[in-house]
């Protein structure tokens, strides 16, 4: 029994981890693209992007998962995701990446807009090129500004991965929960809790270290 539980939880944990890692990998850069869109000088593009961000941030991630997974099939008879585990995983990743990219885009936008114009202008006046100004002046200040809100989102993401079970992605919570029905035991669920706590705890420490390393200046 115990062995079965451990195996199941291990499998679930790996799925959760995969969801977490790939979501970050996709959403962190995509968020930057979206933030550029929402700050675009081409007004219709900016409005469109902001509208999209508003919809995604304003509705539950669980709803988005369901719509992305079932929508194409039920609305258009188009079975995009297929029936396999990996198909459902890709559907979940699509929803997660879109959702988190929108959150990140707002954080980036706030960070970029918060850097005083004078920092860039000082670089311009000193004859620096645009890339030089971005990489040597703006970037590190941006990182320092966005690190705290990004770390909040990343920690929320750890816990949000459990939502993927609504489209039958067998992540950690699913694996813990199924023993309630099949064996009438609840302790596997406690273990899932411990997993989440350890995982978020490690991330908290990691982010705190990063923030410490940027403590030597103020923005």
């Amino acid at each position: 029994m115990v062995e079965n539980v451990i195996k199941a939880l291990q499998g679930g944990f790996l799925v959760s981890l995969e969801l977490f890692g790939l979501t970050l990998l996709g959403a962190l850069p995509l968020g930057l693209v979206i933030s550029f869109g929402s700050m675009s000088r081409i007004k219709p593009l900016a409005w469109l992007t902001r509208g999209f961000v508003w919809i995604v941030r304003g509705s539950p991630l669980m709803l988005q998962l369901l719509v992305i997974f079932y929508g194409p099939g039920l609305l258009f008879g188009w079975n995009v995701w297929g029936g396999s585990d990996s198909g459902r995983m890709i559907a979940a990743l699509t929803a997660f990446i879109l959702n988190y990219a929108c959150y990140f885009s707002e954080i980036y936008r706030g960070g970029i807009e918060g850097i005083p114009q004078g920092q860039r202008e000082a670089g311009q006046v000193l004859g620096m090129t645009r890339p030089q100004i971005f990489f040597r002046v703006t970037l590190l200040q941006l990182v320092k500004r966005i690190l705290p809100p990004i770390s909040n989102e990343v920690i929320t993401l750890v816990k949000d991965t459990s939502l993927a079970r609504v489209i039958l992605v067998y992540e950690l919570m699913w694996e813990g929960q199924r023993f309630i029905k099949s064996a009438g035991i609840i302790w596997p669920l406690f273990f899932t809790g411990v997993f989440y706590l350890v995982f978020t705890g490690l991330l908290t420490i990691l982010f705190r270290r990063l923030e410490k390393r940027l403590d030597y200046f103020t923005v």
Partner: protein, 257 residues
């Protein structure tokens, strides 16, 4: 021949005309002071000279050569604008030191980047650092080279900013109210540095509210009001014996405070 010659500069923001036919010239090694109440367009003038704003009309000549012509604006690429900027330096009202760099790094960042772009040797790069240290010494900050901006007082930050601007050896150094963001007891140290630059015949344009300082230091004074040069001449004339009623009113108001 004048080092700098500005002709008929015009700048509007939306519908407000902020600079109206501003023309002046500045000989090499001289100091020009620009005074005027707030909102009269002084900052905009300096920003136009440093190409942070693009003038709608007007021309700028440096050393007798046409540097900038607003009519040809579209022909100026980003690289061209950067090249044009090298003639000017700008010291901002609120310093704008790079937050994540030490005083010395602030001074050497741009010259080092430029030198690296030109594939400079190790010795050349070290010479730039050495020069940065010398400049900080010159503004009295030899003990603060490793400090970050937040560890410096406003007066010290502004002196670093001056050293940073000097590091690129601009032909014309512009100051935008260099002391108005400072506590009164810190203005002296900055004014002293500017005065020493003046003694070394640095060509300068200073926008300032320190009328007495302007009177002491400037060879020529421009009084601006609502985007127009209302009165200009040597300080003995514009400040001591103004003839335009608007200048008189401005100076009276200044004297009261």
């Amino acid at each position: 021949m004048a080092l700098l010659e500005v002709k008929n500069l015009n700048k509007t923001f939306g519908k407000t005309a902020v600079l109206k036919n501003v023309s002046f010239s500045l000989p090499n090694g001289r100091c020009l002071a620009v005074i005027g109440s707030s909102g009269s367009g002084k900052t905009t003038l300096l920003r136009c000279l440093n190409f942070l704003e693009t003038p709608d009309e007007g021309t700028v000549y440096v050393n007798g050569k046409l540097l900038y012509d607003a009519a040809r604006q579209k022909a100026y690429s980003e690289n061209k604008v950067r090249a044009m900027r090298t003639h000017f330096g700008l010291v901002f009202q609120n310093f704008n030191l790079f937050r994540q760099y030490t005083a010395l790094q602030n001074v050497t960042l741009a010259p080092l980047l430029a030198a690296k772009g030109d594939k400079a040797s190790k010795e050349e790069l070290e010479a730039i650092r050495e020069k940065g240290r010398a400049l900080l010494k010159r503004v009295g900050l030899e003990n603060k080279m490793g400090n970050y901006p937040h560890q410096l007082s406003g007066g010290q930050q502004q002196r670093v900013a001056i050293a940073r601007a000097l590091a690129l050896e601009p032909a014309i150094l512009c100051f935008d109210e260099p002391t108005s963001a400072l506590d009164p007891e810190l203005t002296g140290e900055v004014l002293k540095v500017i005065r020493s630059l003046r003694d070394q015949e640095t060509t300068m344009i200073i926008v300032t509210h320190e009328i007495r300082f302007a009177r002491d230091i400037a060879d020529y004074v421009i009084f601006m009001d609502e985007g127009v040069i209302v009165e200009e001449g040597p300080p003995e004339q514009v400040i001591d014996a103004p003839s335009n009623p608007r200048t008189v009113r401005f100076l009276e108001r200044y004297a009261e405070t």
